[in-house]
Structure formats: structure tokens, C-alpha cells
Amino acid sequence: MSQQIDYNDRPWLDPDAEPFIKVQSVSKHFGDFTAVDSVDLEIYKGELFCLLGGSGCGKTTLLRMLAGFETPSSGSILIDGINMTDVPPYERPVNMMFQSYALFPHMTVENNVAYGLKRDGVAKMEIAQRVEEMLAMVELTQFRKRKPHQLSGGQRQRVALARALIKQPKMLLLDEPLAALDKRLREQTQYELMNLQEKLGVTFVVVTHDQEEAMTLSTRIAVMDVGRFQQIGTPTEIYEFPNSRLVANFIGNANMFEGRVSENGTDHVVVESKDPACNFYIDHGMSIQEGSKVWVAVRPEKIKISKQPPGETSTNSIKGMVGDIGYLGGTSTYRVLIGDQRIVEITSPNLNRPKDGNPPIDWDEEVYLSWEPSSPVVLTK
């Protein structure tokens, strides 16, 4: 988890905190197609905010409206209290790192990085010094005289970052900053990006469609679906308390059960599911009308799997048969068949080395699945 903002000092929980960026009911239409649909968003100073969503859901469009490349069809965008809706990109205190990096191919690394400062009419001496510092920070000093086509993908990415950061923008927009890198480099760069952000204190808005990346990087995530936000929250909130089936499925895996509320107590609800036949006793109470149709989501790692039946078998437990085992070393993924059709996924850490080489639970064995009353999440949509 990143440490950009102190745990006890979360500005979005403070009703008096003034957001740094305010997006107020912004829509963007292309012809009769709505790419962004009346979106509201508040981002605070120093945040590393992720826009997460599937392909074509409008992430880039929203980011481009923040940068000034697209004008909203309606609504307004305030940055640091100033209405920026119609301000052209070259007058915004915002810089962007492009998905394709968009480095100037006819300029050296050095001149690429210096470009923004030259436009501001900064003195030559100061430009030289700041470029020097910036190149040292992204470890590109020895490549200063090269042209972009003479660099590797990772080096280009760092040039793009340096070029965008050298103007000390109030906010940096990053459109899939790591998408062009291979997996190892991507993981390493994630941490570099976080360290840099922490060091400079610049507000980052990152677009990504990689949920792991979003979870690692961000202070908060906005999950987007066809032009709208489904949920905005910290990575923990989004993972542990998704507000819809869509979010639960999009972030990590979830076993989804359809059922009806059979009991609505003060500190708990009971949901009765038909397929598989099972009662869910859930102790973090939300008040839901008895008899209403709901979905229960249980994360694979929150289900225990064992060959012995748990103490009480009518609630929070089902019996099934192991259909498939995916051994991943540290953990194993079991796909357990309940009845003929229904498959429930469980991930379980491999705590002990099997003595005789046989796995503790084998294919086609009968197993009991059980979970804590706090584990399931009730979803109404």
C-alpha cells in the first residue's frame, strides 16, 4: 500500500478539506455517442488517483478533458479553485504523460526534457541546471545526447516522465504510463513512480486498465464503466466492500451467489441461496427488506477448504467435490464443483510441505467449504 497520504489524514474523509480538482457533472459527446456521462469527481492535493476501467469506457476522454485537449460538452472542471473548462492546454498548470510517450523524434533527450522550460522563457542557465537535475533523478544523464529512437522502451518512458515533471506541474496526468513495458519492468517502475510522486508531492491522476497496478499505486481508485463511475474509494474499500457485482468482478475474483433475504436482524442478515442451496449468515449488518433479491459475493481467499465437516453445516458452509486444482507454489486455486454445474473458486495458501509428496486435498475428493460471517458482501445491484 502506498504512503502518499498519511492514514489518519485522509482528505476525502474530512468534510472541510477543499478538493484540488473538481469535476462537476461533466459529459462528453462525440456525435450522438456519449463517452463520458455526467461525471462528478473530487481529487485532493498529493493524491495518486487511479481511473480504472475496461477498454473504451471513457478514461482517456476524461483525462484529455483535464489536460484541455477536449472541451466538455457540458459541466465544468476546476483546478485549484480556478475554472479551467475552456482554458487551452498550454495555459493549464497541468502536464500529461502520453500513452505513446509522444517524445519529439527530432530532438535529443536533453532538448525533449528542456522543451517545457524553454516555452516558459526560463533563463538558459536555470534550464541547464534543472534539466541536469531531472535527468539525474530519472537516471538518464548518460543518454542526454541521444535521440528517442536510440533508447529502450523503459528509457523512453523515463524521458516522457522527466519531460512532463520538469515544469513542476500542480498535477500530472498519466495515460497508461506502464502499458508499453514488460511485466518485470512494469512492477519495478510502479514503485519508482510511487517514490517519485511522494518525493515531489505532485498530484497524480493515472489511467489504467490493469487492476493490480491500480491497487498497488493508488490512494484512491475510481472504477469506471461506460462513461460513469461505479465506485470511488481506497483500494481496500473497493476490494473488500464493492458496491456492485460489476466492481466485485472487475477487481479481483469473486464467487457470486444469487439469493433472497430471509432474515433482517439488527446486526446481521441471512440470505438464502437456492443454487447452491445454502444460507449465508452475514454479521456486518446492512438493512435490507426481507424477501428482496440480492447477490452475495465471497472472495476466493476468504473461503476455507477442508476434508472435515465444520461444526455447524447448515449456514456459511457447503459441500462439494474438487474438480480442478491450480498449483501456483505459494497458493493453490481449487475449483470445487457444487452439484453438477456450479463451480466455486477457492485460493488457499500452501502452509505445510506435504510429507509424502501427496497434496493435502486431491482431485475428486469430497470437501467442505466454509467462511466467516464477516466475509460475504451483500450486493443489491
Partner: protein, 318 residues
Amino acid sequence: MSTPAETVVAEQTTTQDRLVHRLTHFLQYHWRTLVLLVPFLWLLLFFLAPFFFVLKISLAEYTLKSPPYTDLIQWADEGVMQIRIVVDNFAYLWDDDLYVNTYLSSVKISTISTILCLLIGYPMAYAIVRSNHTTKHILLMLVILPFWTSFLLRVYAWMGLLNDQGLINDILTGMGFEPLRMMYTHFAVYVGIVYTYVPFMILPLYANMEKLDWTLLEAAADLGAKPMTTFFTVTLPMTLPGIIAGSLLVFIPATGEYVIPDLLGGGNVLMIGRVLYNEFHQNIDWPVASAVAIALLLVLVIPMMLYQHIQAKEVESQ
């Protein structure tokens, strides 16, 4: 045991196989050479051979015979071969102010025309590239459309427009203005050249801009560059190859242009193409005419070679 006849057959097939094998081998490794051979032969036949022919004539002397120049290789009485090279023609060109001035005038006219073509063609190419898919194709068609009628016919059409009693002057006098003298002036020649050669500027520029990465312009704007600055720091350097290609395509043929200065410029506009024509057809001085042609080639080739040299150096330094 095989009979002798069988051996012969076997040997034949092996030699055949070997031949086929050799041929395929040859094709495999030399197909590039073969492909290049075609344009190479073409150039040899239609450019280099005539060039050396003209070069030979330019080094001869005018005589009253047919063809009207002395032979390069002559046989003296004792059967000794003599090669006579005369550089007088070139010296004559250099000494006579008429020729030097004509070259300078040609280069000046084609330079100004090239700049005008660039100023008109660049925004047009830009507009075409930035327009949407269907408009783009219509606009490109319009650029190419004039090529579908005869070049000569189009120049005559301009004469009809620019004449003292032409369409433009008719309209002007009809509106009560004084008629303008446009025909047989430098103005008319510029109009003709720019009109004719502007597509040669637009097409290479279009091809170049079509490949341009437009996010670069957004990146420049994002870093604080106003539209003008973006143009001079990003767009212009990125489209330089198109500008150079287009300019060469306009400059080279415009310098040697004959029809336009002859029809629209009359005797008032000095251009090398007309001088060449006069030497050849009126003075029937083939050697001097050839020298004029060779000198023209030098005027055109030297700047191109300089450009090539500079570019090669730039590539090296990268």
C-alpha cells in the same frame, strides 16, 4: 549394373538438375540485383546515353554540315586517331552576359516560384491531411484533376484569362477600371509556373504529413507551446523532408521550363529553356545549345549534391 544408355540419361538429368539448381540459387541470391537492373537499364538508355551524346556535342564545334558539328574522333592523314575536345562553347557561355544573366534569371524565377508554391501548397496539404476521410479523398482528387487535361491547353486557358483583351481585363473594364497589363510579364510567368507546379508541392507534403504523429502537437501544447511555437518547433521540423522533396520537384523542372515563359512571358522574360530553344532551332548551333543544356544540368545538380552531402553528414552524426 546399368547399361550405357541408362547412364547417359542419368547424367542428363543430373546436369539438368544442376542447371535448375544453379538458376534457383542465382535467383535466390541475386533477385535484388535483377529487380534493380530494370530501372538501371532504363536510366542508362534514356538518361545516361542521351546525356553523353549531348556532352559530346557540347565539346564539338559548329560546322556547316549535317548534323552541324564536328566529330569528336577524327582521323589524320597518317591514320592517326585524334580526339578533338573544344571547350570554347562553355567559355562562350561564361563570357557572354546574356547566358549568365539568363541562368541567374531562371534560377531566380524558379526560386521565387518554389517559395510561392510552398506558401500555397503547405497550408493546402495541411488542410487535406486534417480533413475527414471522405473530404480528404475529394480534395486529393481535385489536386490531381488538372493533370487530366493537356498542360498546353491549360496554359492557353491562362492566356485567355490574362490577355490584354482577356477575361480578367474584360471584367475590370466592365466595372469601370483601367485594364491591367498582365500578359507577357513576369507576373504571368509566375502565375503559370505556380499554377502548374503546385500539385508537385502538395503531394509529397501530403505524403509526409499523413505519417505525422499528431499527439506530438498535443504534447507541445501540453508543455506550454502556443500554436505558433508548436508549428515552428515541431510541425515544421517534422515536415522538412516533405518540404525538401516538394521544393526539388518544383524547382528542378521550373528552372528548365520552356513552354510557360515562351507563351506567357513572350520576349520579356529571360529563361534558359527559351535560349536553348533559340540556339537549337533558330541559330542551329548544336554545340552551343548542348553546352547550355549541360550547364543547366550543373546548375541543378550542384545544389542537389550539396543537399545530399549535408544530409549524409547529419545521418552520420546521429
